[in-house]
């Protein structure tokens, strides 16, 4: 594998600069990804678990700073760590994320019905936003992860495939199914904008 050409100011450049001891570079890098990574975990677990996993992933980044090699995009590496950490968490807990979320006070009613629940009266945008977040949390694991990597990390299908160790076609299908489920479940008024 050949190392990528590093553009100044890119995430990869910032990570390499941090590896050399530049703390401000890390600060910028953290700023780029703190929100997306935090929400990636928040949509898939409760708040305290999300915070723990978020911190763990950054700790891993910090620990590995001197050995970081920009063979893939930093973002892909970061979310690969996040994906692995999350799967590891589920395995240790022995719990399905949807069940866990449903049992958790922070994210109730996260399981969506398989079919369209029918017309609902949603009076304003806030209701649409709340419903959508619940629907996203209730997606099947791989669909939800694909959706979040696309929308929180802004990753391409190829990057998603790499982070989830699958093929680009599979990532594309998962994203399509996720969007289908959301379209089918969300109130019609929300789609009319």
């Amino acid at each position: 594998m050949v190392d990528k050409v590093i553009k100044p100011g890119s995430d990869e450049d910032l990570m390499l600069r941090y590896a050399g001891g530049d703390l401000k570079a890390f600060q910028r890098l953290y700023e780029h990804h703190r929100g997306g990574l935090y929400r990636y975990f928040l949509r898939q677990s409760n708040r305290s678990v999300a915070e723990e996993l978020f911190q763990d992933v950054w700790a891993r980044v910090i620990q590995s700073r001197k050995r970081y090699r920009p063979k893939a995009a930093f973002k892909t590496w970061l979310y690969t760590l996040a994906h692995n950490r999350l799967v590891d968490h589920w395995r240790r807990e022995g719990a399905r994320p949807v069940e866990q979320s449903a049992a958790d006070g922070d994210c109730s009613e996260t399981v969506i019905p398989d079919t369209n629940p029918g017309p609902q009266r949603l009076v304003d945008l806030r209701d649409c936003l709340e419903q959508l977040l619940q629907l996203v949390s209730g997606l099947p694991d791989v669909q939800r992860q694909t959706f979040l990597l696309r929308h929180e990390a802004g990753m391409s299908l190829a990057e998603i495939a790499e982070a989830m160790s699958t093929r680009a076609e599979t990532a594309k299908s998962r994203l399509r199914y996720a969007m289908q489920r959301l379209r089918a479940a969300i109130a019609k008024e929300c789609l009319e904008g």
């Binding site: 941090y18 703390l23 910090i62 590995s64 700073r65 994906h83 959508l132 929308h151």
Partner: protein, 243 residues
């Protein structure tokens, strides 16, 4: 139509998904990053500890080579010094042990000659007294081991041929799920480690995937990598593969 709806959903999601980590979480991460940078230890070789280590080894080898000149004073001769240092007795014990390890028939003629030779001019430097502790007699034709007392003469020549050669790896994980093995491989590759996945099946239905870092030429490099992986939070165990 569905594409429009997808765009609408994406737009709604962007509007809805606005949470950010709490301030104390930001502080905790930044503090950890700061500590990691501060923890650097001063070294005359900067961050390049490998170069530093190599330099130390080169210096040690140079000193040993300088000491191992052919026409040096005979340090095997009976000690004529009136005041032998306390370590002399210990040195002799080690020398005897080295002699007994070496096969008598294989003793180099030069070494025998050295031992039988009359006392040469008295050693002028104290460090010559230390030399016998470092020297090891090995059969002719065998490489001289000067760095450590590896019992080269102890190993029968035929043994190496009978022991199957193995390759050393560090095993980072075993998975039934290939995707998880791939993910770990990707993570380790991102950290700069060379690694592979080995598919192991006990029968057709039971397949597991071993994620292994390596191969390593020797235990020293294996230990270095193990330490680095450990620092990165990856636990490993040493495994051997037959070549």
């Amino acid at each position: 139509m569905s594409e429009d709806h997808d765009s609408r959903i994406s737009e709604l999601y962007r509007q809805s998904s606005q949470e950010t980590p709490p301030a104390q979480l930001d502080r905790a991460v930044m503090e950890r990053a700061r500590k990691s940078v501060r923890r650097r230890v001063y070294s005359p070789f900067g961050n390049n500890w490998l170069a530093g280590g190599a330099m130390v080894v080169v210096i040690m080898l140079s000193v040993l080579l300088l000491l191992d000149v052919p026409q040096q004073p005979d340090f095997h001769a009976p000690a004529q010094d009136a005041v032998a240092p306390p370590s002399e007795a210990l040195s002799e014990t080690r020398r005897e042990a080295a002699r007994s390890r070496a096969l008598p028939s294989a003793l180099p003629a030069a070494a025998e000659k050295k031992r039988a030779a009359p006392a040469a001019p008295k050693a002028r430097f104290d460090f010559y007294k230390l030399l016998p502790e470092m020297e090891m007699v090995v059969p002719e034709g065998e490489p001289r081991a000067v760095m450590k007392q590896a019992p080269v003469a102890e190993t029968p020549a035929g043994l190496a041929a009978t022991v199957p050669s193995v390759t050393l790896y560090l095993q980072a994980g075993v998975f039934r799920d290939k995707a998880r093995a791939d993910a770990l491989q990707m993570e380790l590759t991102g950290l700069g480690f060379k690694c592979k996945i080995r598919e192991v099946s006990s029968d057709d239905t039971d397949v597991v995937y071993h994620v292994r870092v390596g191969p390593f030429a020797d235990l020293e490099t294996l230990d270095q990598s193990r330490q680095k992986l450990d620092e990165s939070g990856v636990e490993t165990q040493t495994v051997k593969e037959r070549k």
